[in-house]
Structure formats: C-alpha cells, structure tokens
Amino acid sequence: MKHDITLTVNGEPYHITVQSHHTLLHVLRDQLVLTGTKNGCSEGECGACTVLLDGEPVNSCLVLGVEANGRAITTVEGLADNGRLAPIQQTLVELGGTQCGFCTPGVLLSAHALLQRNPNPTEYEIRAGLVGNLCRCTGYVRIVDAVREAARLQQASATS
C-alpha cells in the first residue's frame, strides 16, 4: 500500500509517496537520495542511521517512512549552516574523531541532540549519550573529546 505524506527534511518541505513497509532510512536514502545517513545493521543496534525526528534522535531503520508524515527531520546533510560546519562537526574534524566515517553521521546527530538537551555534559553523560552509536575505529576517545570541546565552544559563543 502507498501513502502520500508531507515531511520537512533539513528545513526543506517534501510531498512524497511512500510504501507502507519502507523505513524512514529507506525513504531518506533511496527516495530522497540523502545518502549521508548510513545503514549498519537494519535492526536498531548500531546507531549509524541516527537522525533527528522533531529534534529527538531515532534509529531511522526502526521508524516507518509513513510515521514521518507532518514531522521535521534533520540528517547529517542538515547540520552545517550554509557550508559552515556546526561546532560538533568542526571539533570532530580537528580532534580526529572520525576514521572510516561510517558511524560519523549517526554520532554527529546523537552528539548534537545531547548538546541541545544538556549543554554542559559530564564525561559520563557524554559516553552515555553515545552508547547507542557503535564505532569500531576510534575507540571513542576522540569522539568524546570532540563532544566536550563542542560543548565548550557552544558555551563560549552563547556567552559572547
């Protein structure tokens, strides 16, 4: 069965027809060709497909496309502002928090959401905030460093 839906992705409105059984991940990658969001397991365990649904991080492989009707989605392609990297993107580059890069889009959105709800997280809160995002390359060290530094940058720009 097919459904006509309306959704906003990275600020852009879309009117599309989706199939009942297609996930939001499928809709993003195969219909909208926003391939930044990755598929690592298709069962909600690895976090590579993390996107923000109305600001909250979700595994897009566990959300049906039709559930996104009327909602706002942010993917990795929507984090930079007119080519200017978001603080967490910038610190991940500078501190070496990306290696193969396949978990990176999901990590970025989980970290972004964490910093939105908790602008000054502790070390443990950062690690707990990333627990749903598996990374096999970095050992998480530089990712945690990058989130801490992004929090500092955001605080600094908020107070200046």
């Binding site: 990755k38 690592g40 298709s42 365990e45 580059v93 070496g96 193969c100 890069g101 950062i126 096999r136």
Partner: protein
C-alpha cells in the same frame, strides 16, 4: 641513516577527507546511484555445515516475475583463493559451512530477490563434520577437501596430503634436549581463542555491471581492489584488462575486506544481467559469518626457564580452526609460525603451526593476522612462569625480549628495535611499581603487561606504485592503489607527497582507487601502506621534483644542485631567484632565447622488497623471513567487581616503535582504536558455534565495546627507532595496536583476583566463577 629535516612529515594534520565525512558527502558503495535499472542481488546459503548437494531446483525462483538472474555453482565452477585456490564462488556438489553460497539471484527489488531465494529448493545429504581443529588434524577426522593437493597453491604453503591440514609451518631450531636440561622450571599449558568478527560498521557491499564491449566494472568496498581484479579475473578465466574495480570510501575493514569474499558472486550475477547493474550488500547477520571471520585457535605452549628468568626452550603447537576454506588462512598459520616465540630470543624452538579445515565460517585476515591469538597464549604463559619462579613480569620480558643483532625464531637477524624501550615506558606509565588502590569496597585492582611483535604478513614480493601529476595552478594529484579504510592512508600519502615535492599539503589531492587509472598496489593489509606505498610516493615525488628542477635550471642557466622547491616555489640557493610552480608544471618555461623547456610534469615511483628469502620447509630457518617487525607493549590497570566479576579497564597504556611517526596524532588514534578493539575482543566477543551453527550473529547477541565500555583513561607513547628502508624511517602500526591488549588484560585480572582465564573472552561469569572457586 641520516636524519632528514622535515616540515610536513611529523606534523599532525587533520585527515584530508574529514570534511566529506562529517557532512555526509563521502560516498560509500551503497551510496552510489545506478538508476532505476539497478538489480538487487541476494545469495541462497547452505543450512548444513557439511553435506552433499543432492538436488537444486531453481525453477520456481526463475518463474517469479521480476527475477532476472538465477545462478548456481554449476554455471561457474571455478575455484579461487589468495594463497590456495580452494574456494568455489558458489558451492558445487558439496557444502562445507553454514552460510556457504549455493545460488544467487538478482531481481528488480530487494523484496523479490529475498522471495526468490526462498523459492529455491535444495536437498542436502548430511556428512559428518569437523568442529574442532585438534580433532580435524587427527587421522580420525573426515576429509573436507579430498582434492587438497590438486589446488593451485603458493610455494611457501606446505599442505599435508591425505589430511585436513592445508599448511604446516614447522620450526626446528637448536637442541631441545639441551634447552629443557638447562631449564630450572618447565611449564606447559593450553589456551583457546574463539572465532570473532571484524565488525566494520559498513558491511560488505558491491555493485557489478557489464557494458556492451564486455568490460566488467566492479564497485567494491574493498581493501584489495587489485587483488580482487586479479582473483576474480583468474577464477572467471578472463583478461585482467576486462575487469575494472573501483573503490570509493570504505566503512572500515580490519582485514574483513581483504582479498575476495562475496564480490565474485556479484560479478557472476552481473554477467547474466544483460547489462543491468547488480548490487549485493551483506546484512549484518551475513557479515558475521559468511564473509570472513578471525580463525579460532588452540595453542599449546611449553616453556623452559632458568631461575633468573631466561627462556631456554619453547615447544609450541598452534591448531588453527581455519574454517571451510583456507585460501587466506594458510598464510596466517605461516605468520604464526615465523613469529611463534613472540618477541623473545629463544635459542631452542620446536614449533608446529597447523592450518586445519573445519566446518566453520571462513577464517581470513583480521587486524593482527594471527598475532593477537598467539600472543594471548605466549604473553599469559610468560606471566604464569614468572609467577612460579617468583620473578617480576616486566623484568622477565626485558631480559628475554629481542634486541638488535639477536636471532629470531627463524634465524633472521633482528634489526634495530625499540622493544625494550616500549616495555619500560609502558610499565613506567602504568605505575608498575606502585600499588593499585581500588575505588571502593567490593572492588579489587591489578596491573598487567604484555609485549608484542608483528611483521607484515605477505608474499615476499608485494609491490606498490604511485604517480603524481600537476595541474595548471601548481596543485597536484597523487594516484595510489592503496585504500583508506579509516586508517588515514590518504592523509599520509598527501603528507609524504607534499614533503617530497616541497609543496603545501593543501596543494595535494589524493585519489581513491580505480584499477583502470590508479597504479598497482598489492593490497591494503599487513600495515604495509605507510612503509611500502609511502616509499613509492616519495620516489614519484622525487622524480617529479627532478623534472621541475632540471627544467628551471636549464632556463636559468644554473646548476640543478643549487635549486630546491620550498612551499610551492622553485628557489635558487645560488642566485636567490624564485618562481612559483603555477603554470610552469604544465606549460613548461620559456627560455631567454624564446624557445621552451619542460612539459607536463608526471612523476612515477615504485617499491617492492627484493630481499626476503624462502624458509626451509622442515626447519623454518632462512636468512630473511620478513621485511621487518614492528614491536611494542601495552600495560593496563583493571578494577574487578567482587560481586559480579565485571572487569573494568581503568587505564590502558600503549607504547609502539613506529620507526617514524609521519602524523603523530594519527598514530595515536590507531593506538587508541586498536586498544579498544583489542579490549572488546578480550572482554566481550565470541562467535558462538554449535555444530557449525552461528548462534549469535547480531549486535544484540554479539556485543562490541561501546563508549561506556572504553577505558577510563588511555595513554599512547610513540617510540621512534628508524626503519632502514622506511619512508623517513617509518614502519606500520595499524594492526599492532590490538595485539597485546587481551593478554595484558588477562594478566591484570590474574594480578587483581588470582583468576587465570585460559579461554577468551574474559567474561564476568568466568571471573566470578574463578573467584568463587578460590573461596571454596
């Protein structure tokens, strides 16, 4: 070697491709767009561990509308393999592991492909299986490959006729009787390592398409585009020039994407697809047991030691649980043989490293290539002996570890190495001599250390090449055949090229691999790119630089010796003249008389080690077994919860001799990532196999370390004892970073609670049970 002054080498530049990776712009195979014509492939897999295929009926699948291709082993019966051609792309007559491809389908949608696979009917007749390598090596075991001796095979692999042993690497060195007689204590013990999986976040992915001229293009998430071209072309009996392999960014490899696994099946389906592209992507479950896994190991170690801690003799037997096909695994067995003592000087050695066929998933290359497995045994054994003798584990290692000029186990003379420094520095950084203080009641702490060595495991003559071309604006393109799977090859290539040319790194672009346009590289494995490909890049840069300088010298009427390139300008030390590279590197330069010099600058470079020698089949001895060894050590502090047995890694120190850190921060990120992967395998990971059936092929049941599991703190120490033939003295570090982690943790657990764990992983249950037994 002379110390060269560098401006770019030795600096920690961020990765050259980072921006693409943090914005979602980096394209991986599954991200590439092939249009509405794309077919989706799916493999029908064996459900039995060992059996005859009595009947395959594909008629229902073929009849399903939207199904375009159905192939079986009867269509393409050729065998393939990197060192031993023992593996069919699709099973013919017989299946040897659960998950083995028996048929392949390509259809208009993934749903149809799945449905078509279910419609293929296969009838098997079960055969008795081999599920333990020691049994598999015995005379009682059923033969899994009766045709073993007929397979094409590399000359340094020693098959045993009439057995399941596809390689037997022997070491017979010194006088064992004398070695045992000299020992004050002899201790023998057996250790086990389960199968684990690499778990790259991107599963294997491939797309293949045949054009109207019969040219096949394979887009592949591969560490080995050239080896894939070679092996697939040979298995299909087609010319290498008919196959083109393109590898964009890849989402991790760790050895899983070395050689060929499912890519051949994708090409075979494309050959039947009438020009339509066919995509094949592994599910996570398929990734866990149908591509490559790390082999299991049963290791028997017998060691003699004098009262003052000197190792007098070692007798080691390694039974490798190599799986159904050992095309790659045979060389892991060999690597374990020529490294069989660990990084120690041992005068008397009797070692047998046996590659044994079992009805388990296919063992392949995984980060460390046999070294994490044998070091799990050796490095625990040393500690247990030291304890029996009342000796300090650090001192025993410092006494026995290989020093420059000593003979290795195969009779090769050890090159300059910083191994002693690594052991000392790791011990110092962990506070070896200071007591550990638990964080509270009910907790106990301990420290452990382990040393390591590893050589690039490869044929004697794997080649690298590189070309450098300039653009009009003075920027340049570096072409390589090596793959950046996350380790940073593109950045290291850019730094070496920039340093060699004398241009800013921002003026250098490095291309990903396309075998039609990139120069040859054997494979991205063995931690060999920085060293081998790095040499080729430096030579290409040197040739390009020479072309530029000779042109300018001719035009200026100067001696080329007086010219140099600094930050993208040719400068003369004699006349202080200067000219930017812009324009002259493509258009040449006009001479005072109005004529021209130069032309488009193209530098080319190649490198291949030429000095590795064969080893004797009966003794394992020979002058030069390998190109070199990277050495190092890790020290850890753990805290154990007495109630639960849970092990937490508090502090983890890594120290490795990398020769020269081209990019120190990227060396440290290799150390960190490797240490956490090592920790994850040590504490959490195991593919549970029951009669060949994988019981936990999902992230729910096969857990890998998360951000919370990672050590509380980590320290990374870079030691630099230069490699004589490395670029600026560099040697590899990618794999080594996880080699000593598991035994270091095991040694720390023993120090903390007195529980010895013979069998990986060190689960809370095992530690808890061990503590309980102690109390009884």
């Amino acid at each position: 070697m002379t110390i060269q002054k560098t401006t770019i080498v030795g600096q920690s530049f961020p990765r050259v491709e980072s921006n693409a990776k943090v914005t979602g712009a980096a394209q991986y195979v599954d991200d590439m767009q092939f249009g509405a014509n794309l077919l989706y492939g799916k493999l029908k897999r064996s459900t039995v561990a060992h059996g005859w295929i009595k009947r395959i009926d594909t008629s229902k699948a073929k009849a399903l509308p939207g199904v375009r291709v159905v192939v079986t082993g009867q269509d393409y019966p050729g065998l393939t393999g990197l060192y031993l051609s023992d593996r069919p792309t699709f099973a013919v007559d017989r299946v040897r592991f659960i998950g083995e491809p028996v048929a392949g389908v390509a259809a208009d949608t993934p749903e149809l492909a799945e449905q078509a696979c279910e419609l293929i009917e296969i009838e098997y007749e079960d055969l008795p299986g081999v599920f333990d390598p020691e049994f598999g090596a015995s005379a009682e075991a059923p033969l899994l490959h009766p045709d073993l001796m007929d397979y094409a095979c590399a000359p340094f692999i020693f098959r045993q006729p009439g057995t399941n042993i596809s390689n037997h690497f022997k070491v017979r060195k010194g006088d064992m009787d004398a070695g045992w007689a000299e020992a004050d204590q002899i201790f023998e013990h057996t250790y086990y390592v389960p199968h684990v999986q690499h778990v790259p976040l991107e599963t294997h992915a491939a797309v293949a398409q045949v054009d109207g001229n019969g040219k096949i293009t394979l887009w592949s998430a591969s560490q080995s585009p050239f080896a894939q071209r070679n092996l697939i072309a040979k298995s299909l009996g087609i010319s290498h020039s008919r196959l083109r392999v393109i590898t964009p960014y890849i989402g991790g490899g760790f050895g899983a994407k070395a050689g060929v696994s499912m890519e051949g099946a994708c090409v075979i389906m494309a050959l039947q697809a009438k020009g339509r592209p066919v995509k094949l992507v592994m599910s996570r479950a398929e990734e866990f047991y149908t591509t490559f896994v790390r082999q299991g190991l049963t290791a028997k170690i017998k060691m003699g030691m004098t009262a003052d801690g000197r190792i007098t003799a070692m007798q080691n037997t390694y039974y490798w649980d190599a799986g159904a096909y050992t095309e790659y695994g045979v060389n892991i067995t060999r690597a374990a043989g020529y490294s069989s003592t660990g990084p120690y000087f041992v005068p008397n050695v009797h070692a047998d490293s046996l590659c044994v066929y079992t009805n388990h998933p296919i063992g392949g290359a995984m980060r460390g290539f046999g070294m994490p497995e044998i070091h799990w045994a050796i490095e625990q054994h040393i500690d247990r002996m030291a304890e029996r003798m009342g000796l300090d584990p650090v001192q025993v290692r410092l006494l026995n570890c290989l020093k420059e000029g000593q003979e290795t186990v195969t009779g090769m003379i050890m090159h300059p190495t910083g191994l002693s420094q690594c052991i000392s520095k790791a011990a110092e950084a962990i506070g070896w001599d200071k007591p550990s203080k638990p964080s509270g009641p009910g907790k106990r702490r301990g420290k452990g250390i382990a040393a390591m060595w590893k050589a690039p495991a490869m044929p004697p003559n794997p080649g690298s090449s590189s070309t450098i071309r300039f653009n009009e604006d003075g920027t340049c393109l570096v072409n390589i055949g090596g793959v950046d799977m996350g380790q940073g090859a593109l950045t290291i290539a850019a730094q070496l090229a920039a340093e060699g040319l004398g241009v800013p790194i921002s003026d250098v672009r490095v291309n990903t691999v396309d075998t039609d346009y990139s120069p040859y590289e054997w494979q991205t494995v063995a931690s060999r790119l920085t060293w081998s490909m790095g040499n080729a890049i430096l030579r290409a840069a040197g040739e390009a630089k020479q072309q530029i300088i000779e042109m300018v010298a001719e035009v200026w009427g100067e001696n080329p010796q007086d010219l140099d390139i600094i930050e993208g300008n040719v400068v003369s030390y004699a006349t202080e003249e200067s000219v930017p590279l812009k324009n002259i590197v493509v258009y040449g330069m006009q001479k005072p008389d109005g004529t021209w010099a130069g032309g488009p600058v193209v530098g080319k470079g190649r490198f291949m080690p030429t000095y590795v020698t064969p080893l004797d089949a009966e003794t394992g001895q020979g002058p030069r077994a390998v190109v070199h060894f990277t050495t190092g050590a890790q020290a850890v502090e753990v805290e154990i919860d007495e109630e639960t047995g849970e092990v937490q890694v508090i502090n983890l120190v890594s120290a490795y001799d990398v020769g020269k850190a081209i990019n120190p921060d990227m060396v440290r990120t290799q150390m960190e990532g490797g240490a956490v992967q090592g920790m994850s395998t040590a504490l959490l990971e195991s593919i549970i196999l029951r009669n060949g059936k994988p019981m936990n092929p999902s992230f729910t049941d096969y857990r890998i370390a998360t951000a919370i599991d990672a050590p509380v703190s980590m320290e990374n120490i870079i030691v630099e004892v230069p490699q004589d033939d490395g670029p600026y003295g560099a040697r590899g570090i990618g794999e080594h970073a996880m080699v000593p982690t598991a035994p270091a943790i095991a040694n720390a657990v023993r120090a903390a609670v007195g529980v010895a764990i013979d069998s990986m992983p060190i689960t809370s249950e095992k530690v808890w049970a061990g503590m309980r037994n102690d109390k009884q």
